[in-house]
Symmetry: C2
Subunit: 144 residues, 2 copies
């Protein structure tokens, strides 16, 4: 975490952006959230730093997105959420309880390599999502 923060600060400087307490705090909060909405990020920063405005939250999220630190996700409930874990993985969403789990697999990289070759695209990022019933909700389903 400390390491990632330092890299982030370096990248800010390198790209000519200023290093402000708001940006540092928002980076820490966002990277510690799972798949936050703007609203959730705002509520969190509001607890520790009540003067930070929604405008700053929106602007910082947009900056992080441009810097490749976060990514907009597939939406299931209409609200845009942000992927903050940029390690290749698949999100499995339970469409009943709303839970989201990360799953890692070497197959993702394989698929990635296959498509890059086949399509002639230069692939920079991805977003993989499964939607279904988690083990708990699956059982409840069958008894309904």
């Amino acid at each position: 975490m400390e390491e990632k923060l330092k890299e982030f600060i370096d990248m800010l400087r390198k790209e000519g952006h200023k290093v402000t307490p708001q940006r540092i705090e928002l980076f820490k909060i966002i990277k510690n959230c799972k798949h936050p909405t703007v609203e959730e990020v705002y509520h969190r920063i509001n607890k520790s730093h009540p003067t930070v405005s929604p405008a700053t939250v929106y602007k910082t999220i947009e900056l992080l997105r441009e810097m490749g630190e976060i990514q907009e996700m597939s939406v299931i409930d209409g609200k845009i959420r942000y992927e903050t874990n940029m390690t290749p993985h698949i999100n499995i969403h339970c469409i009943k309880c709303g839970k989201v789990e990360d799953v890692f697999s070497d197959r993702i990289q394989e698929l990635f390599n296959e498509f890059e070759k086949k399509s002639q695209y230069e692939i920079k990022s991805h977003s993989f999502d499964f939607f279904g019933y988690c083990p708990d909700c699956k059982n409840q389903e069958s008894s309904e």
Copy 2:
């Protein structure tokens, strides 16, 4: 297309929804669009049926989503787009020119099967997206 429309009409009836001209027309339009936004759907129906209101477009899109005919997609430009082709595939987005291509592969089904077994989830749908530079834009990139 005719076949799909009939299935849709049957499903409407079966689920107790009424079959209206607006729903039929919106179904046809939406299924003929690639990855439309709400706005695009509204503009299209507005040309042929100028009295259809935005409210009806929103409600019908929500109905189609509930019925599993369409799905919200990963967003790249902030606007929610809808996946209207429910055949398993991956979308490759060019982050420069905005083009989106569908790619089909047996690997998707394999990945699907692997995860269903491994995770104990009952998977109902998915959304796979790659983001990068298409062959054309890739070359422009290198010469900049």
